[in-house]
Symmetry: C2
């Protein structure tokens, strides 16, 4: 190694230590989110070194508050030992989510560096879909044999009080071997004699879900019961973990957020502006390039009516208005359908109900918007027929747009496409084609 290289390595270490010092100060003064922003603003190559210099607990705290992709990049660059010890500080569900987001080699190396029991458990959890009960549950919980006494529970709590510090102890679970047979509200322990066995105190046949239960079904269970946590079992009724109400709410929020981003054309994971520019451009472009082909397709309708356009050039002013306004009306209908679907207020098969509800609103709004635009056209060119053509086309196309906008999310859902991604482009293409056709064909009859 020559002198220059040593210097660089030394100065890198100094930078990392200085960065870590700044992060640590923020984390220890309860400003983890600020620390996440500071890390986000560091040059990419400095981030993992800074995290590596942090005390393990602080590093874990910080990693938990990063977006998944950024956390993954950092964990992949740390040595497997350091990454493993950071991950061991986190709760089982967070740990599994992070491992699942790593490239295969890093995931393997880090699991190797973890304790065999935790590695095995983490691998189990990684197998679940993120939006299932198995993917949302934590495995940290209190479970006692049904034959144990109240006294035995008290002793166990006293012995492991440090270890249990971060566990939700509102309820403990009662098992025969691994099989869940009851839940025990901890408050009932206060009132019981110390020699009572738990099977006399416990609530029998408790509500539980299986590890495959999906997000929407979980939502129903939590809606129907005021519990803060619900036990998760496998097909053999063996206790696997517990889903907390706050984890469920968190997952729902993440789901809605990802729908919003997808509907605006941010696909393939959340974008933050500290990602490399080519990565950001590539992701956005994948969506844009599909859209531009659909746009060219729609505009080809205009190309077929060039003669009409040449003779009434004023129409060219109104084509983008009709395209934009139909898009707006249709998007309103898409948003209401997406919302009603996620609330369970409509089933994907109820196309006719949605159409009936939309067409009436579309008729009212279409007439209002059509009159507005028709009046604008009339006053501009003093041409009644131009006003009628433009206003009439917008009125009709508004009805088309709300019908498509309302029904497309249901159709997408029914045929297992993602309604958040596909609804917008389909809506725009169809309403553009239809709008251009309406205004230009009416013009070719009435104006030319």
């Amino acid at each position: 190694m020559n002198l220059a290289e040593t210097d660089t390595a030394d100065s890198d270490l100094v930078t990392a230590q200085e960065n870590a010092e700044e992060l640590r100060g923020l984390i220890e003064s309860d400003a983890v989110n600020d620390a996440a922003v500071v890390l986000d603003r560091m040059p990419e190559e400095e981030r993992s070194a800074a995290v590596g210099e942090l005390p393990t607990e602080a590093a874990a705290d910080l990693i938990e508050h990063l977006l998944e992709q950024q956390a993954a990049e950092i964990l992949e660059q740390l040595t497997p030992d350091v990454a493993a010890s950071i991950l061991e500080e986190l709760t089982s569900d967070v740990r599994a989510d992070l491992i699942a987001g790593l490239d295969a080699q890093s995931a393997f190396d880090i699991l190797q560096a973890m304790s065999p029991v935790e590695a095995e458990e983490t691998k189990e959890l990684c197998r679940y879909e993120p939006d299932s009960a198995g993917g949302l549950m934590v495995t940290e919980l209190l479970a006692f044999e049904s034959t144990s006494t109240v006294q035995a529970v008290f002793d166990d709590l006293a012995e492991h009080s440090e270890e249990y510090r971060d566990i939700d102890v509102q309820y403990s679970f009662v098992v025969d071997g691994k099989r869940l047979v009851g839940v025990l509200p901890m408050r009932d322990l206060f009132l019981a004699k110390r020699s009572t066995p738990l099977f006399e105190l416990m609530i029998k046949d408790p509500i539980s879900v299986t590890d495959r239960t999906q997000l929407s079904a979980l939502e129903d269970v939590f809606d129907n019961h005021s519990f803060l946590g619900i036990p998760v079992v496998n097909e053999s009724q063996e206790l696997l973990g517990v889903v907390q109400r706050s984890s469920l709410e968190h997952a729902i929020a993440a789901h809605d957020r990802s729908d919003y981003l997808k509907s605006q054309g941010i696909i393939g994971g959340e974008e933050i502006r500290s990602l490399p520019v080519f990565e950001r451009a590539r992701r956005r472009l994948s969506w844009l390039s599909v859209n531009i082909l659909l746009n060219i397709l729609a505009a080809s309708v205009i190309a077929m009516y060039q003669d009409t356009l040449s003779s009434v050039i004023a129409l060219a002013v109104f084509l983008p208005i009709i395209s934009d306004m139909s898009g707006c009306s249709g998007n309103q209908a898409v948003a209401v359908s997406m919302r009603e679907l996620s609330l369970g207020l409509i089933r994907p098969a109820e196309l006719m109900r949605v159409w009936g509800k939309e067409i009436s609103v579309g008729a009212i709004n279409g007439m209002c918007l059509g009159m507005l635009v028709g009046a604008a056209a009339f006053f501009w060119k003093a041409d009644v027929m131009l006003g009628i053509v433009v206003g009439g086309a917008l009125c009709l196309n508004t009805m088309v747009a709300v019908s498509i906008g309302g029904m497309v999310p249901l159709l997408m859902k029914r045929f297992h496409f993602d309604p958040a991604i596909a609804s917008g482009p389909i809506l725009t293409t169809v309403t553009d084609m239809c709008g251009f056709f309406l205004v230009l064909s009416m013009a070719s009859v009435l104006l030319v």
Copy 2:
């Protein structure tokens, strides 16, 4: 009263009882959400009668699962006594939210029918902003005097066990008079001698928030600590209530959802399709009518270039493409900015950072999209200059669109407009005007 009227009244009652029977069956078999859908599908005038026929507890369960506007309509139509007894079944925060959503007269009448203590408490809670700690907290909690002994707590729990059933008892709070002085993890009670006074056991100087703490600050507190609930105090450090983690997550989800709906033009409350058609049309139209005026403004740029358009009619095909595609690119930037703002990754003042990050992505994607559209124009008309004009304009306008899209949410936030509502229309108007101007002015120089 004549015979016909009696018949109608009788048959109304029978309908209400039959409806209530159906709802009750669903609610009691843990399908409250299905009951909400059934109610949603009933004719508007039958809904409150059906709810009025339900047992109070079932009615409360159902009311809690309706959208706020629908719940308000039903409560307003019930007699104040019935409405009050339903509301008294709900937790303090839900009750206050519902009362706040009623018309003033109904709210007054129902509060009059409630017990004076609960009415007073509800009025207090109604004064808070919904997204503040005061608006999110529940007042149901366990608080004990610091001089009480462990034995006294056990006795109190035993005595009120039924009443405390729905209270989160993970922690109880320790007070001197009304002043919060400590928190007491319930598990620590198990390990303590029964004669110990609470001030010896409690965690002193607990983390708390004030009733005015805003949603984003609350999020930070919960991010920095793993607590399931955080006590809320006033300026005099008096204990007012507790905000639960799941309530916070719920509020954040509602916030994001409302942003999504607003960005798609659903303003003034969530729309469900069982609302009256004129109400739905009116709400959507208020947003559309602003948009159409902005659209006409943008299209007036085209009107100024009619001569250019007449001589190169092919341009009319590309105007809507440029408008739509710029809108798509800009909306992607809006979505990323909205998200970074809500994550706290950018501050509203960081315009230049956002612009720098956007313009580079815009340049890459603008070039790709410009080449695509330019090639399409060239192959269609075998006209190199047409391709250059159309492609060049789209390339430049993509850069404009991402710049505006990225920066507008920050500007809106800085000047206290709602970025979810205002960003879209501003983006569309500016990029349309700019796009039309670019393509038509370039054409007037290069093509005519």
